[in-house]
Structure formats: structure tokens, C-alpha cells
Symmetry: C2
Subunit: 371 residues, 2 copies
């Protein structure tokens, strides 16, 4: 794959936005946006270390000395980006480039800090207008290109493989923390560059807290275990949840599992390009309520995934926009019974012209472990 | 220890700053500052989920529904904080509290986002002034209280213990990544809540890159290995670097190690309350240059550590302020020889009335491993 061609495609989509809105330039400080636009991998761990300016004619990156050589290596000698090493502060650099390029209307992301904006305002005085971008570049990032889909599929492949491994490892007597360490290690030694987020391993009643942190609880026979985790691969995230049962599930555990599974599959089947995010979420709320567990499901149905673990679009009550083909989203309904157990079933996949194609290959059947 | 007494002390230091500057209130969005002011542990993984308002009379926290119950549990029933669950957006909540309390001059941290500021400006119209805080709360956080010093010492104790463990584990034939996984696991299963940062394990020529990422390089006999890592404990960070040798070091490796060690110890001996951060850094630069390696040391000598891995104060060329008693800082000179090896020796400790007391207990002697 010709990476420069991919990057030119991304820059072209930004320039179309700039032309539509009448911006002469855009100043970028948001690391995920910079990762996407430059293609430089694993270089954005410091939120304050990089600034970019894009005009109709060129693209410049300003980076601090710790990253300068790494950027040059990762972008390659034929990069479309010009890289400046920092000798001045980031706002001072941006103001100078804005003056050099004669830009008058310079959009700035509203995720930038007040400190950066204040200094830019002061240094550009009254000569420059600074309209705000409200996640517009996140909108551009929604539709994934071929390069991105390959990285996301590989992140999920590692994640599925780790699920098979951990199912053979779990038994009563281990702590949640021991399961977490084994699962994370497996991913880190089988191709993952890192973790998508802090792994959730929540056994028994802990599973009823959707954001439980793994602890010293000892896993018991009959526990349902919610495992929500994912591999990070070249800065792209996997996100998957499976709930397994240690030994044979009770009738109630089976019943609730089946409701979550049916809800998951009905919602996945309702996804198609143009569907309104909120409407798919509302379908999940309705199905779980009809099954009698309306009070036991408080979170959104799903979210976009890419360079960030939470991106646009979103299957939630506040997301009123259409979900485009090429976006990558999770489907993750759950039922949480305080004091008893929780169940969540999550896949991640791409919205295609025909519907929804999960990357996740692990079965939806309730897995019994610990034999 | 009476945690509410500790928290009242922290709030009192903020209120003295407010009184000095004539602020009626402060709006806080910065997670490390909120961790420090509320005492609520491990609840601040989402930068956008929390907002606080502090006036002379009260302190309110606004948090999103995912964290509401956790906050109430962690703060305890007798908390000095009032907690509001989000029903509106954060800027809307802050504007309403500002109006309720009749605040007119409301300081805002310059680390807040442009989006938050824009909405706050719009909602408070012309009735409220919003002066900026430029790291002033980071300055308050510099001087650690007894509670904080205990947590930092415990984080370092786990880190030292992991060093002993990994010295017995390393041998030629392992990859950097295998050493990383073993080291991180050890900490996570021996008391650490997480990692201070992504562990650096850099063997042989990789050690010459101060920010190397562990990879598939196989460790060889005669390699120097730079290991920079730390345990996270109740949100407080440890930070330590040791460089070990796999088998007997060469004469050059010994010579360079001794220069780094002498530089480290001379700089540590120069630390006392009131010393200017830049001057201690300049001492390290001078000593390494006098030893003939002036071109092989490009980073700062050290940095503050606490709820953040990089805090104030700082031993760097731009830090012109005095280093106060009670601040916690690293000392970490290094020499990097491209194509050959790198050596860095880092302790972390507290500035006392009499000088500098490292938390780090591991010896400065060059450790030979891999027998």
C-alpha cells in the first residue's frame, strides 16, 4: 500500500472542508488527528509536544526535540510533511507560520487548551480570525480507509486469539487480577503494541458494575465473568466484551445471557449506512425493557473506534446523526443485576453498504470455562 | 491519618491563593488537580468527566453518571465535598453554580479546553471575569503532605523490589519485550495499581535512545540495558532508572557508568531547599562535559513527581525558580553513545530541610546480571 497516497487522501478531505468553510488554514494540536493526518505511528504520547498547520498549499509539523528524529524516520524521506524541530514554543511557531503563509482565517480545534489559544490570540493580534472546529476532523476520521481497516482487523484478530487463550486459563480460585495479567500478557507477547484500555475483569457481583476495576476478588464456581478488553495495534484499538461462566450457568444466568445476545444481534442487524445512531440505541433499550430488565441497562449501545477508543459515530441517546458506511462501531448491550452478576456482549466492526460486518470472530454462544 | 484533615489542608492552600489574587471562585477541570483536592482515588481516567467549583465557602464536584457512585464510595459519607451528578453539560453546571454563589471573578485553569471556555464565556455573558490560572495549582501540589509522601514511598518500594526480581530474571537470549512483560507483571502482582508509564527496556545500542520503546531485540552477552520504569500506587508515581550489564562490563562501559554515577551523586548532594532548578541541571551538564561526554547528554537532569509523572519543580535549563522543601524530584543524568550503548541512573526522592532524601533504595553500584 502506498502510504503517501493514503495520506494525500486524508489531507484532501481536510482541504475540502477548509474550502467549504472558507478557512485559509487549520491549526491542529489534537494528537489523534495528527496521527491520522501524518501517519506517524506511536509518536503521540505527549498531548503537548506537536502542532501542525495545514493550508491549501502545504502542511507543516512542529515537534519537540525528543520526537524529531523519530518523526523523520517514521514518515520516511519522501514524506509529504515538512517537519520543524522546536526552537520556539508551539503557539509562537504557529503564529509565525500563519504570518508566513498570509493566512487570515485560521480554524483551531476546540480541544486545544486555553493556554494555547490565549497565546495565539496575543501573537496574531487582530489580523487573524480564529473560528473553532468542533470535532470536524473527528467527523473526517469516521470513515476509515483501507489502511485503517487492515490495522483494526489485526488488532481484533489478536484480541480474539487472546480470548481463546484466556478461556483455557480461567478456573475457580484465581483472582480477577491474575486473569487480567495473563490476558494482557498474552496480547503483549502475541503482536499487540499495547492495550486499548485498562482491562475489565469483573467476576460475580462485580460484573454488575459496568466500569469495575479488576481486584483481589477470588473467582468462584458459578461466577459469570465480564471481560472487556482489547489490543492496540499501530495506534488502532480493538474493543471486545465476552461474559463467560465458570462451570454450568444457572437458569437465570442463561435467561439473561440470551436476552443480551438477542438484543445484540437484533441491533447489529438494524445497522446500515445512514441509520441514526440514537435509533439503534433506542432499539436496544426497548428490547431489554420488553424482556423485563429495563432498569438494569444504563449505558449507550456502542461507539466508534479507531485511533481513539471512543470516536464518532455513537449509538447513544444524544447522537442524532446518521452513521456512515466505512465507520467502525461497537455493539455492546448489557444487563447488570446489583449483588448478583452482569452480562455484556460486545463486538466491533465496520458499517458496510449492506449492513454491519463485525471484525470480532469469537462466538456469541455462552462459553463455559474452568473445567 | 485523618483524610478529611488532609483535604482541608489542601483546600485551605487553594483558598489562600484565591484570597491573595481576589478570586471569588475557581473552576477546575484538570484531573490531577481534582485528584489532589478531592482525594478520590483512581476515578480520573477520563479528562472530560469532572468539573469542580471552589469558593471561599464551599466546594462542589460535578461528575458524570459513570463515576457518581464510585465518587460517593471513595469520598465517604463525611466528605467535605458536595457531589452533583450530571444532568447538564459541565460548562452549563459551572455557569449555574457561579450564578448561585454570586461569584464575579472566577479563575479558570489554562489547561481547560477552548470548547469549555467558549461555552462558559457564552453562558456567563459579561457578568463574570475569567482570569487564567497558569499552573498555579500545580505549584500548590509541589509541596507534598504526609499522606502523599507515604504513597510515593510505597510506589517506590514496589519499584525497588521489582528491580531485585528482574536482575535475577535477565539473561542473554531474552528479548527486551520479554523483560518488559516480566517486570510489569511483577509490579502488577506485587501491589502496583498500574504502571507509572510505558516501561523502557533498551539493550545495547538501543540504550543510546533516551526514549526507546522495548522491542524484539535479543539481549546479548556484554549488553548494557537501560531500564526506566515505575509502579503506580493509589494514583502516585514511582520513577527509577537502573542500567545493568549482562556479564562483565568492558573498561569503557565501566568508565562511562562511573561518570554518570559521580554526576548523579554530586547533583543529589547539591539539592537543598531554595536551590534554583536550572542550576542543579547546569551542574550535571558541566560535570559530564568535563568528563569528555558533553555531546552525549541532551535531556534535563530531573523533574517533579506526584499525581503526575512530570510535575513541578524541574531540574532543566528553563526552570529558573527555587525548589521548595517537601517537593519530590528525580535525579537522572545519562550518557548516550549512538551505535554503542546508553547509561542513565535515576532516583526519586524528597527535598528536605537538610538536602535530598531518595526514596529509591537500590544501590548505585553497577549491577552485573545474567549469570
Amino acid at each position: 500500500m502506498d502510504m503517501n497516497k493514503t495520506l494525500e487522501g486524508r489531507l484532501a478531505s481536510l482541504r475540502r472542508l477548509m474550502a467549504d468553510r472558507g478557512y485559509d488554514a487549520v491549526v491542529l494540536r489534537n494528537n489523534p488527528d495528527l496521527r491520522w493526518l501524518t501517519g506517524a505511528e506511536r509518536t503521540f504520547d505527549d498531548e503537548s509536544a506537536h502542532t501542525a498547520l495545514v493550508t491549501a498549499e502545504g502542511q507543516w509539523l512542529h515537534t519537540d526535540s525528543r520526537y524529531f528524529n523519530t518523526f523523520r524516520e517514521r514518515l520516511g524521506g519522501d514524506s509529504v510533511w515538512d517537519i520543524d524541530q522546536d526552537v520556539v514554543g508551539h503557539a509562537e511557531w504557529a503564529a509565525a507560520r500563519i504570518a508566513d503563509t498570509g493566512s487570515r482565517t485560521v480554524a483551531i480545534e476546540d480541544t486545544a487548551t486555553v493556554a494555547f489559544l490565549d497565546e495565539l490570540v496575543e501573537r496574531t493580534a487582530d489580523s487573524v480570525e480564529l473560528p473553532r472546529l468542533h470535532g470536524d476532523i473527528c467527523d473526517l476520521r469516521m470513515v476509515k480507509d483501507t489502511e485503517e481497516l487492515e490495522l483494526l482487523r489485526e488488532a481484533q484478530r489478536i484480541t480474539d486469539e487472546a480470548f481463546e487463550h484466556i478461556c483455557g486459563f480461567i478456573h475457580a480460585g484465581l483472582t480477577e487480577q491474575q486473569v487480567r495479567v495473563e490476558l494482557e500478557n498474552y496480547m503483549l507477547t502475541h503482536g499487540a503494541d499495547g492495550l486499548s484500555f485498562g482491562t475489565i475483569i469483573a467476576a460475580g457481583p462485580n460484573g454488575a458494575n459496568p466500569h469495575a476495576q479488576p481486584g483481589e476478588r477470588v473467582i468462584e464456581q458459578g461466577d459469570m465473568i465480564v471481560m472487556d478488553y482489547g489490543a492496540l495495534y499501530h495506534d488502532y484499538h480493538a474493543d471486545m466484551t465476552r461474559t463467560v461462566c465458570v462451570g454450568e450457568p444457572s437458569a437465570k444466568q442463561r435467561e439473561v445471557y440470551d436476552i443480551v445476545r438477542r438484543t445484540h444481534e437484533a441491533c447489529a442487524a438494524a445497522i446500515r449506512p445512514g441509520v441514526i445512531g440514537r435509533e439503534v440505541h433506542e432499539l436496544s433499550v426497548r428490547l431489554i425493557a420488553e424482556a423485563g430488565y429495563g432498569d438494569c441497562y444504563g449505558h449507550g449501545l456502542g461507539h466508534g473506534v479507531g485511533i481513539e477508543i471512543h470516536e464518532r459515530p455513537n449509538f447513544g441517546r444524544l447522537y442524532d446523526k446518521p452513521v456512515p458506511a466505512g465507520s467502525v462501531v461497537t455493539v455492546e448491550p448489557g444487563i447488570y443485576l446489583p449483588g448478583e452478576f452482569g452480562i455484556r456482549l460486545e463486538d466491533c466492526g465496520v458499517v458496510t453498504e449492506n449492513g454491519y460486518e463485525p471484525f470480532t470472530a469469537s462466538s456469541h454462544d455462552l462459553r463455559v470455562v474452568g473445567h
